[in-house]
Subunit: 192 residues, 2 copies
């Protein structure tokens, strides 16, 4: 239902983001952008994900002549501590132990730019996620399955056991997967 | 991670429920049960979905000799009005117009029985779902795509445009798809 004559570009290498865009019927090309994703001291999570989405956009714009570009950045925050992608299996286990039985927040910043009109939409989405208590055995099983390694917070709400770690969420579900679909859809409608 | 020597049976013909069970790695056989799903006057939605899940269980038990059986029933409630599966495309459009810009509740009752020990777990899950305002054109596009016809409330949060109708949810996401996975997983662990 997004009608545009311009090509759409997703500047992300995340297979989840690619699948989500496809799910809502958007035809696009994708490429990856390399950015050292640093969190600044004292920076609010919402400001952080919007800044990172913008920094990715600056790189992405240099790669696209004409079109609509989408960039996004997702972080997981527990008690003001940012939990990134785990470096190894040991760290993945540590992250999941931290999240077990607690409530954390998932922030995604999204930036959409039309390179012809030069108009830009920048926004973020926040979803609260409550984990049930998960046992050490469950964590070991999950980590040895390989699912958590490329994901912020070391879990995927959409995959096998990630699904049953989550008791409830408050906010946009797809934001936790990696792209706040309703907000992105709205931005695309306004900009295309 | 569910370890049982007993076969597991899902008494539901819903392709969504079948897919969800598969997602969390549960091996099962499925069959359908026929039940006239009536809502009683003045019955609370939570009591209603638990009763319907139990009624389905009574039928299902007559079909299984030994095993663990799962039954479920989902309803959508807007301002105390139950919104069922649409009878035709016209009714699907009416349902979606009702839900547009409003907040409704999705209730699922789940019943799990072990036919050997005769133990039973009965529970329900409630998720609050907030729709954005959706236009008549969007509703027509969605209904003509055929997605809403076999779904309570005439939408699927997991499908193409159903995903972008939903602004936010409060509760279990998978409950809105058709099975509250974390609660079901917990029941299965206790009963198997």
């Amino acid at each position: 239902m997004i009608k545009t004559a311009l090509p759409i570009f997703l500047a992300s290498k995340s297979p989840r983001r690619r699948k989500l865009l496809k799910q809502i019927g958007i035809k696009y090309k994708s490429f990856s952008v390399k950015l050292k994703e640093e969190i600044l001291d004292g920076e609010h999570p919402a400001a952080c994900v919007e800044r990172l989405a913008m920094e990715k956009m600056e790189i992405a714009k240099s790669k696209v002549k004409e079109g609509i570009i989408i960039t996004a950045d997702t972080i997981v925050v527990l008690n003001k501590q940012v939990i990134g992608k785990p470096k190894n299996k040991k760290e993945a286990e540590e992250f999941l132990s931290l999240l077990s039985g607690k409530t954390h927040a998932v922030y995604t910043g999204i930036c959409v730019v039309n390179t012809i009109t030069n108009s830009k939409k920048l926004d973020f989405e926040k979803t609260i996620v409550e984990f049930r208590k998960i046992s050490k055995d469950e964590i070991k099983d999950y980590v040895s399955g390989g699912s958590p390694m490329d994901k912020a917070g070391a879990y995927g709400i959409q995959d096998d056991f990630g699904a049953v770690f989550v008791k409830k969420i408050n906010g946009c579900y797809y934001n936790v997967v990696g792209l706040p679909l309703t907000k992105l859809y709205d931005s695309l409608r306004k900009i295309s």
